[in-house]
């Protein structure tokens, strides 16, 4: 982390309805590295990505990307900033009415005036990078989950973004496509000099590729550091998460009244 961070999150507060999701999150995402944001399900990791991408506005605090404060930008400037970002959605979110080729070509067609031949070359290069050049004529409905995510990755890098956001890239993947994705994320980051943010709760895979890790829980950053330092962290909450222990400071049980009383309480209600 020699130079200035690419993304800075400062004092972020966000609530949805009456539920407070973030209460004072601070992060500095280093340029050109893979930063992982981890935490148990339901801690608002995807929400954090949406806040960084400017799709949601925080109640307090700010998000700065390369010096530009995301939530202060006009709609037009925000869309211009988003051209420098790619995002890989959990579902892939491919456009279901366009073929694989057209999906990857979409950002190029709408943001550039490149001639068709060049668009074709670029699309084939991106598809080659994710190993799906041969699948260019297929429709999204014909792809497996892993393939759809790789196509979405090719689309996310079509405009050579500086920042790429991965939302749970490993969820629901078989071991082979999981391995493929892990390698792809690592390779793309090195080859293209991207800044990557990976949101995930797949500890093993994420820790193998991340340069720096933030663990969030209860709306705050619980711990941050390199994967090695987190592995030996003594904080019981961190160690429970990193080593995947079922019960600990993060309880296995959803809050409820006393089990014994609950069982013995008679009556017709639930």
């Amino acid at each position: 982390m020699s130079d200035t961070p690419f993304v800075v999150v400062e004092g972020l507060h966000f609530s949805r309805g009456d539920t407070e999701i973030f209460r004072g999150v601070d992060m500095r995402i280093p340029r050109g590295r893979i930063t992982a944001i981890m935490g148990p399900s339901g801690t608002g990791k995807t929400t954090l990505l949406k806040l960084i991408g400017g799709q949601l506005s925080p109640d307090a605090g700010r998000v700065t990307i390369d010096g530009e404060e995301v939530h202060r930008l006009s709609r037009k400037a925000l869309f211009a900033l988003r051209r420098r970002m790619g995002m890989l959605f959990q579902s892939g979110a491919l456009f279901s009415d366009l073929s694989v080729f057209e999906n990857v070509a979409f950002p190029l067609r709408v943001h550039t005036d490149l001639p068709d031949a060049m668009v074709r070359d670029l699309v084939l290069m991106k598809l080659e990078a994710v190993g799906l050049r041969g699948a260019r004529e297929l429709m999204p409905a014909e792809l497996s989950g892993g393939m759809a995510r790789r196509v979405a990755l090719a689309r996310a890098i079509a405009l050579d973004p500086e920042l790429i956001l991965y939302d749970e890239p490993f969820v629901g993947q078989d071991p082979i496509s999981m391995g493929v994705l892990v390698q792809l994320i690592k390779r793309l980051n090195q080859a293209l000099g991207l800044t990557s943010i990976v949101v995930s709760h797949d500890i093993k895979e994420t820790l193998t590729i991340a340069d720096y890790v933030y663990v969030i829980a209860d709306g705050q950053v619980m711990a941050h550091g390199t994967p090695e330092s987190l592995d030996v962290d003594q904080d019981p909450r961190v160690s429970q998460f990193v080593h995947g222990e079922p019960d600990g400071p993060v309880p296995f049980h959803y809050p409820a009244v006393d089990y014994f009383k609950d069982i013995l309480s008679a009556g017709g209600g639930r």
């Binding site: 991408g53 799709q55 709609r75 869309f79 211009a80 988003r82 051209r83 970002m85 790619g86 995002m87 959605f89 959990q90 579902s91 979110a93 491919l94 456009f95 279901s96 979409f106 950002p107 067609r109 709408v110 943001h111 979405a152 689309r155």
Partner: protein, 260 residues
């Protein structure tokens, strides 16, 4: 009591907020000069929204014209006034039935499909991913559909009227034996182009705006779950139908009721 008043107030605020959202939504979508690609997207939606609704609208138009002619004949013939059949069929269709029935059919056939399509795009994060690519889904997804609806319903209404009048001719002249010259002649003499055809088209245009607006807004604003999509689709049809019938009364009162 106070709680009830508060609930009522909150409902009112929610309603106003939804109306405001819908207003901003349609404003942001409908403005802007379409690009060359915008025209292509619009044409494609014209096909989905307009051309594919053609069959149901034309067949319904034919039957309504035929029924109208049959019913009209049985009454008019009692007064020896069956010569006025053409006039009756044409005026009923142009002023009232074509705009209203075409709009109702359009809401059921095209409106519900628009809601479901946009809703599914929202549920599968396609709209979000479009935003993240830096493309405004209001311009790219909503605007072509909105304009396709605005243009296609008035055209469908013209088709409805034409086929309906022909249906009336089939039953009245070909089957029941009304004199062909008086069917067309009385129609020509009594139908005013601006007053009847024009007002009918104004109605149809208003319905087109309202129905398409409701349909795309319901799709864009829904809760992205299977239940949310089903509810929004139902709401599209229910709200559109009520809006069309309610507005029809208001427009008729202003146009033909001597209130203007």
């Amino acid at each position: 009591m106070i709680a009830r008043v508060m609930r009522l107030g909150r409902r009112g605020c929610d309603l106003l907020e939804a109306l405001g959202r819908a207003g901003i939504f349609v404003g942001q979508s409908a403005v802007g000069v379409p690009s060359r690609e915008g025209w292509a997207l619009w044409l494609r939606q014209m096909h989905f929204v307009g051309v594919l609704s053609l069959a149901i609208v034309l067949v319904s138009g034919l039957f309504i014209g035929m029924v109208l002619s049959l019913q009209g004949y049985t009454i008019l013939v009692d007064f020896g006034a069956e010569q006025a059949l053409g006039q009756m069929v044409a005026l009923s269709l142009l002023r009232e039935l074509a705009p209203v029935v075409a709009a109702l059919l359009f809401a059921g056939r095209a409106g519900s499909a628009l809601t479901a399509e946009i809703g599914l795009m929202k549920a599968t994060e396609q709209l979000t991913s479009m935003e993240m690519i830096g493309v405004d889904p209001l311009r790219r997804v909503v605007a072509p559909r909105l304009w396709a609806g605005f243009v296609s319903l008035p055209l469908l209404t013209i088709g409805f009227s034409v086929v309906g009048i022909y249906g009336g001719y089939l039953v009245g002249v070909e089957w029941l034996g009304v004199f062909e010259g008086s069917y067309w002649g009385n129609m020509q003499a009594s139908v005013a182009f601006i007053g009847d055809v024009g007002n009918g088209m104004v109605k149809s245009l208003v319905f087109a705006v309202v129905v398409t607006w409701i349909a795309v807004f319901q799709g864009y604003d829904l809760v992205p779950t299977s239940e949310g999509i089903s509810r929004a689709t139902t709401r599209t049809v229910v709200y559109s139908s009520l809006a069309v019938l309610g507005l029809d009364f208001v427009l008729t009162a202003v146009m033909f009721g001597g209130l203007s």
